[in-house]
C-alpha cells in the first residue's frame, strides 16, 4: 500500500513525521513503532483479521497503531474521546474487536485491552518490516462511525483501494510542490478529514503539526500554537477559520509560509472567503467536498473572487478525475447541466458499504452498470454547471455542524429517551446559510416547573451520556404542542419560523 511504502522510504531520511506540543516523532521512529505493533498483532492474534478498536484523541502513539494494523493486514476503528462512553460501547459491541487500545481507561471489554503503558511497551519492542502481511487492496483499512438516523451510529467501511483512489484523486489539488513542509493536523482521527493528514501529507514526507481539542477550544492557546506551527498547508472546516478570523492577528504574519487553504466538511460562506482573501492575499483558497462513504473528498476547486459576486453559493468544486458526479431526479433519471437533483458519486473511492447494515447498503449504494463501478447516493441536493458542482442543501434531516455530520433524527431519538421528554424536534440554526447551532423543541410529559437554563442543563447532562458534545443542541425550547403538517408529522417549517 502506498502509505506504507512512503513511510519506509522517508524512514531513511531524518524527517519529522509528527509534532505534538514539545514532543515529536521522526519517520524512522514511526516506521519502527508501527513495525513493532504489527509484530505484536501477528504474534498475538495470528491470521485473525478482526479490526482493532482504538479509543484516544491525538496522542503521538496513535499513527503507529493505525499503520501497524495495516502492516499486519487488518483494519482499525478509531474512536475519539469526543464520543461519550455509552456510544463507544455501542460501537465496540457492533465491531466485536479482539483487541482494544484504550488510552483513557474507559473499561471496555474485549479479549485483550491495552492501556497507554502496555501500548508503550509494545511500541518500544521488537519488530521487523514484513511486506507479506500488509493489507490487501480489497481489505477494509478503517471504519469510521457516523451519526445514524435511528439514533445508533453506523460504521462506514473504507478499503485500502478506496484510500489509494482518494490519494490519486486529491493529488492534483493538493500538489502545491509540497514534498516536505508542515501540515495542520487538528482533526480527530475518527473523522475522515484526518485522512488528508495521515494518508496524503505523510505520503509526501510532510510533518503533521498536531493540535488537540483543548487547544482548539481555547483561542489564546490556539493562536500560540499556530504562531509556532510554521505550517505550509492548512486543511480544516470553515468553522475553525471562522473562529480564527475573529482576530485581526489571523493573517500572513501569523502563518508566513502557508501556501494553501482547503476547506471542507460544511458550507463555506462567501463572507469567510472574502475575509481569507483579505488576510492572506495571493494564497489559494480551495473549497472541497466529499462524504465519508466516498473516502474523504471527491470534488475541489479554487475559490475565485468572481465566485463571490455570483448569486449562487461558493461551488464545492469539480469532480476528481477518477470520480463521476451525476445529478438525478427522484426516479433516478440523469438530469442535464444546471438542473438540481440528488448527487450520485461513482468511482473507486466509493465504500463497500456500512458495517453489518444490509438494509441501509441496499438504499445508499449501487453498482453502476455502465462503468461496473460502485456508486453512492449522497442525499445532497446539487446542480452541475460547466463542470462545477454547487451544493444546495440536504434531501433528508442530516446537517453539518462545525464540520461534524449530524442526523437530526439521531438527536431527536436520543432526546425522547431523556426523562420527561415526550417528543422532540431538532432544527438547525442558520447564519449566512451555514448551520451554526442546533435548537431543540420539546414537548414534556408533565410540566417540570424548572427555569429554562436549568432544564436545558439537566437535559444536556442526560444527552451527554449518549451523544458526542457536537450533537447536543445549544438551546431548548418547550412547546405546549407541536405544529403538525397535513401528514400529521411535526411541521418543521412552522417551527423554523419561530427561531
Amino acid at each position: 500500500m502506498f502509505i506504507l511504502e512512503s513511510l519506509s522510504n522517508y524512514a531513511k531520511t531524518d524527517r519529522t513525521a509528527l509534532i505534538y506540543g514539545a514532543d515529536s516523532l521522526s519517520f524512522a521512529e514511526l516506521e519502527r513503532q508501527s513495525n513493532a505493533f504489527a509484530a505484536y498483532l501477528l504474534k498475538t492474534f495470528g491470521a485473525d483479521r478482526t479490526p482493532v478498536l482504538l479509543y484516544g484523541h491525538k496522542e503521538l502513539s496513535i499513527p503507529a497503531v493505525l499503520f501497524g494494523c495495516l502492516k499486519a493486514g487488518r483494519g482499525y476503528v478509531p474512536v475519539d474521546t469526543t464520543f461519550p462512553p455509552e456510544r463507544v460501547r455501542q460501537i465496540a459491541e457492533e465491531v466485536q474487536p479482539k483487541l482494544i487500545v484504550d488510552l483513557y481507561g474507559l473499561g471496555l471489554a474485549a479479549e485483550t485491552v491495552l492501556d497507554g503503558a502496555a501500548l508503550r511497551q509494545i511500541l518500544d519492542g521488537p519488530g521487523e518490516a514484513c511486506r507479506e502481511t500488509w493489507i490487501r487492496p480489497e481489505d477494509v483499512a478503517y471504519m469510521l462511525f457516523t451519526s445514524g438516523s435511528t439514533g445508533k451510529p453506523k460504521g462506514v467501511q473504507i478499503t485500502a483501494a478506496n484510500i489509494a483512489a482518494f490519494r490519486q484523486g486529491v493529488a492534483p489539488w493538493f500538489d502545491l510542490d509540497l514534498d516536505g513542509g508542515v501540515f495542520l493536523n487538528e482533526i480527530s482521527y475518527s473523522f475522515d478529514v484526518s485522512v488528508c493528514a495521515l494518508y496524503y501529507a505523510l505520503s509526501r514526507g510532510m510533518t503533521l503539526y498536531t493540535v488537540d481539542k483543548q487547544t482548539l477550544n481555547d483561542p489564546k492557546r490556539l493562536f500560540a500554537a499556530l504562531r509556532e506551527s510554521d505550517i505550509d498547508f492548512w486543511v480544516s472546516t470553515p468553522s475553525l477559520a471562522e473562529i480564527c478570523v475573529q482576530s485581526e492577528q489571523f493573517c500572513r504574519a501569523l502563518l508566513p509560509k502557508v501556501r494553501g487553504f482547503v476547506f471542507c466538511g460544511e458550507v463555506l460562506t462567501k463572507k469567510l472567503c472574502g475575509q481569507m482573501f483579505e488576510r492572506f492575499p495571493s494564497v489559494p483558497v480551495l473549497n472541497a467536498y466529499g462524504p465519508t462513504e466516498a473516502t474523504v473528498l471527491v470534488t475541489a476547486a479554487q475559490v475565485l473572487p468572481a465566485m463571490l459576486k455570483d448569486s449562487r453559493p461558493v461551488p464545492i468544486g469539480y469532480a476528481f478525475e477518477n470520480v463521476e458526479a451525476r445529478i438525478v431526479d427522484r426516479e433516478g433519471k440523469t438530469l442535464s447541466a444546471g438542473e438540481a437533483g440528488e448527487l450520485l458519486l461513482i468511482g473507486d473511492s466509493v465504500s463497500p458499504g456500512y458495517f453489518k447494515r444490509p438494509e441501509l447498503n441496499e438504499k445508499a449504494f449501487f453498482l453502476d452498470e455502465a462503468t461496473g463501478k460502485r456508486g453512492y447516493h449522497t442525499g445532497d441536493l446539487c446542480l452541475i454547471d460547466q463542470g462545477l458542482i454547487y451544493y444546495l442543501g440536504r434531501l433528508d434531516g442530516q446537517v453539518k455542524l462545525n464540520g461534524f455530520r449530524v442526523e437530526l433524527e439521531d438527536v431527536e431519538n436520543n432526546l425522547t429517551r431523556v426523562e420527561n421528554v415526550a417528543r422532540a424536534a431538532v432544527l438547525p440554526v442558520l447564519t449566512d446559510g451555514k448551520v451554526t447551532a442546533l435548537t431543540a423543541f420539546l414537548l414534556l410529559e408533565a410540566p417540570d416547573g424548572l427555569p429554562s437554563l436549568q432544564r436545558s442543563k439537566k437535559i444536556k447532562a442526560a444527552l451527554a451520556k449518549t451523544l458526542p458534545s457536537y450533537m447536543i443542541p445549544r438551546k431548548f425550547v418547550v412547546v405546549d404542542a407541536f405544529p403538525l403538517n397535513t401528514n400529521g408529522k411535526v411541521d418543521k417549517k412552522a417551527l423554523a419560523a419561530t427561531l
Binding site: 482548539l216 477550544n217 481555547d218 483561542p219 489564546k220 493562536f223 468553522s239 471562522e242 473562529i243 480564527c244 475573529q246 482576530s247 485581526e248 492577528q249 489571523f250 462545525n402 447564519t431 451554526t436 447551532a437 435548537t439 427555569p451 429554562s452 437554563l453 436549568q454 436545558s456 442543563k457 444536556k460 447532562a461 458534545s469 445549544r474 438551546k475 431548548f476 425550547v477
Partner: protein
C-alpha cells in the same frame, strides 16, 4: 454592558430572565462552549464591541462581568 451581554446570552442559549447573572461561570456551568463564545463575540461585534479572540484567555472571559470589563 453586562446587561447587554446577558441579554445576548439569554437569546443564544435560551435562558430565562435572571438565570444568567454577572458572575455566572459560563464554561463551568455548561452555558457556553467555544463555538458559543464565538457566536457571542460575533453578536457583540454587531453591537460595535470588538474583542480579539487571539488575546482571550478562557478564564478572562468566563463570566458576563469579566467579559463586560474587557469590552468597556
Amino acid at each position: 454592558m453586562v446587561e447587554k451581554i446577558i441579554g445576548i446570552l439569554n437569546e443564544i442559549v435560551g435562558a430565562d430572565e435572571g438565570e444568567i447573572a454577572p458572575d455566572t461561570e459560563l464554561f463551568e456551568e455548561g452555558v457556553l462552549d467555544s463555538f458559543g463564545l464565538v457566536q457571542l463575540l460575533v453578536a457583540l461585534e454587531g453591537e460595535g464591541v470588538t474583542l480579539d479572540v487571539a488575546d482571550l484567555d478562557r478564564s478572562a472571559v468566563s463570566t458576563p462581568a469579566k467579559l463586560a470589563a474587557l469590552a468597556e
